[in-house]
């Protein structure tokens, strides 16, 4: 069984595309459609090795989700990578301050994403 990766995005297509790329590389995928579901998933699956999250999502956005997850001491070391269409420096700064480990602007290169996930979960 591969390492578990949580993919949080309100777009089912993006969840599928990230999931397919990572599943082909041997990772196990858990999906969430917004920040609230993402926080719940992290609580329910302590074995999650990494989170990949969109920023613009209904209910709870990605930056709020990062803050909520990182509030818990158990999640301090959990890498969270932002994957979004946004690329404004202020948002990137906020994500870094909240505890995210990186930022990718969509559309992403699947091969590079897999390599990055492998590196961050090694």
């Amino acid at each position: 069984m591969g390492k578990q990766i949580l993919v949080v995005d309100d777009s089912a297509a993006i969840r599928q595309q990230v999931g397919l790329a990572l599943a082909q590389a041997g990772f196990e995928i858990i999906e969430a459609a917004d920040g609230n579901e993402g926080v719940s998933a992290v609580d329910q699956h302590p074995s999650i090795a990494m989170v990949i999250s969109d920023v613009n999502m209904p209910n709870m956005n990605g930056l709020e989700m990062v803050s909520a997850i990182k509030k818990k001491p158990a999640n301090k070391a959990l890498p969270i990578l932002m994957l979004t269409t946004e690329g404004q420096p202020s948002l990137i700064k906020q994500a870094k301050a909240a505890g995210a480990v990186g930022w990718i602007v969509k559309p992403f290169n699947a091969g590079q994403l897999v390599a990055t996930v492998q590196k961050l979960t090694a």
Partner: protein, 371 residues
């Protein structure tokens, strides 16, 4: 965004062109709305033109403008019933959002199907290549084992044959030695027969006659033994002469078998190399298929930014709606305006805390920045 009303301001002398344009656009707006604007003193009106004397006309225009002491930034309604515009924009927003939502649903459904197909193609390719590798590995392993078993059996058989020949040679030597002993016994028997003949002649009479019979029989027996031993000797000699030839043939067979085993080892190595090359080629093909699948997935991502950009149209329309309502003095609350959007598209949080001017992406698409 002052798209639907004009603010009457004191114009500078060089604003005649602007004034004229504003007035013309206001008239155009009346026409497009299908409602006639009531004449109003507060409306802009183009002064009459004196085409023969532009300088004089400009001065007259300036005086006319100076006399219109209208308060700055006063809003001028462009339709009789402001709620019509408000409702039209609400309906338009609902319609556009509905279309965006439909486009999102259809494109997402199709892209999910394409993604599923891409996944199936990769899985099928992986399964096929793995299956081929396993089949070839299994076949190669089976054939190698069968070949090794056969060669070992052949080697053992030839070695057994060689040992049998060696034993036969040894036995024939022993038989030869025994034959020599029998020859000596036959000679002794012949000597005894000769002595018996001499004794028979010396005794004479019935006693001598008896000795004579014994002598004759012993002589006959010794001759038979010698003849038989000679035949055995000849046979053994023939066997001994043939054994080296058999031994030589067996040695040659062993040498040929060893050569064959060497060839088979080389063949096995070549097959192993071919198998490895084939497996490498399979892996290369799989990597290529994976690479193409990843490229396909990358291309499929156009839908998400496209939909998000389409959704931003509603943000603009919402701003427009708010400004319009302000201009038309409609006291919709922001929640009421937002409500137009709800039920069609998800409400995303605006990033209103962005730094001023921080609206451009600082990263290229696909670029990965690790903090």
């Amino acid at each position: 965004m002052n798209f639907f009303w004009w603010k009457k301001e004191t114009l500078s002398p060089d604003c005649e062109d602007l004034q004229g344009r504003l007035s013309l656009e206001a008239q155009s707006q009346q026409t497009s709305n299908g409602k006639a604007m009531p004449p109003s003193e507060e409306s802009f009106s183009m002064p009459s033109k004196d085409t023969e004397n532009p300088g004089k006309q400009m001065k007259a225009d300036m005086e006319t403008i100076a006399m219109q002491e209208t308060p700055a930034a006063e809003k001028i309604p462009i339709c009789e019933d402001p709620s019509i515009l408000h409702n039209m924009l609400s309906d338009f927003r609902k319609h556009v959002n509905g279309q965006i939502q439909t486009a999102k649903e259809i494109s997402e459904k199709e892209i999910l199907c394409i993604g599923d197909c891409v996944n199936k193609i990769v899985n099928h390719a992986r399964e096929y290549i793995d299956q081929s590798k396993n089949t070839m590995d299994h076949s190669f392993s089976e054939q190698s084992t069968a070949m090794e078993d056969y060669l070992n059996y052949s080697r053992q058989t030839i070695e057994t044959q060689s040992n049998t020949v060696k034993n036969a040679l040894s036995l024939s030597n022993q038989i030869s030695e025994a034959g020599e002993a029998v020859d000596r016994l036959a000679g002794e028997a012949k000597l005894l027969a000769l002595n018996a003949t001499i004794e028979a002649a010396r005794l004479g009479g019935s006693s001598g006659k008896a000795f004579g019979v014994i002598s004759e029989e012993m002589n006959h027996l010794s001759n038979q033994i010698a003849t038989t031993n000679g035949m055995i000797g000849d046979t053994i000699k023939a066997v001994q002469e043939s054994l080296p030839s058999i031994m030589k043939q067996t040695t040659a067979q062993i040498e040929k078998l060893e050569t064959f085993m060497g060839v088979m080892d080389q063949l096995k190595k070549n097959m192993g190399d071919d198998l490895s090359t084939s497996n490498d080629a399979g892996n290369t093909h799989l990597e290529m298929i994976m690479s193409l699948a990843y490229a396909a997935l990358s291309h499929l991502q156009y839908q998400d930014p496209m939909i998000q950009n389409l959704q931003k149209i509603d943000y603009l329309m919402k701003d427009l709606h708010e400004e319009l309502n302000q201009g038309l003095n409609i006291n919709d609350t922001p929640d009421q305006i937002k409500q137009t959007q709800l039920g069609c598209l998800p409400e995303y949080q605006h990033h209103e805390d962005l730094d001023e001017g921080d609206t451009q992406n600082s990263q290229n698409s696909g670029e990965i920045v690790l903090f």
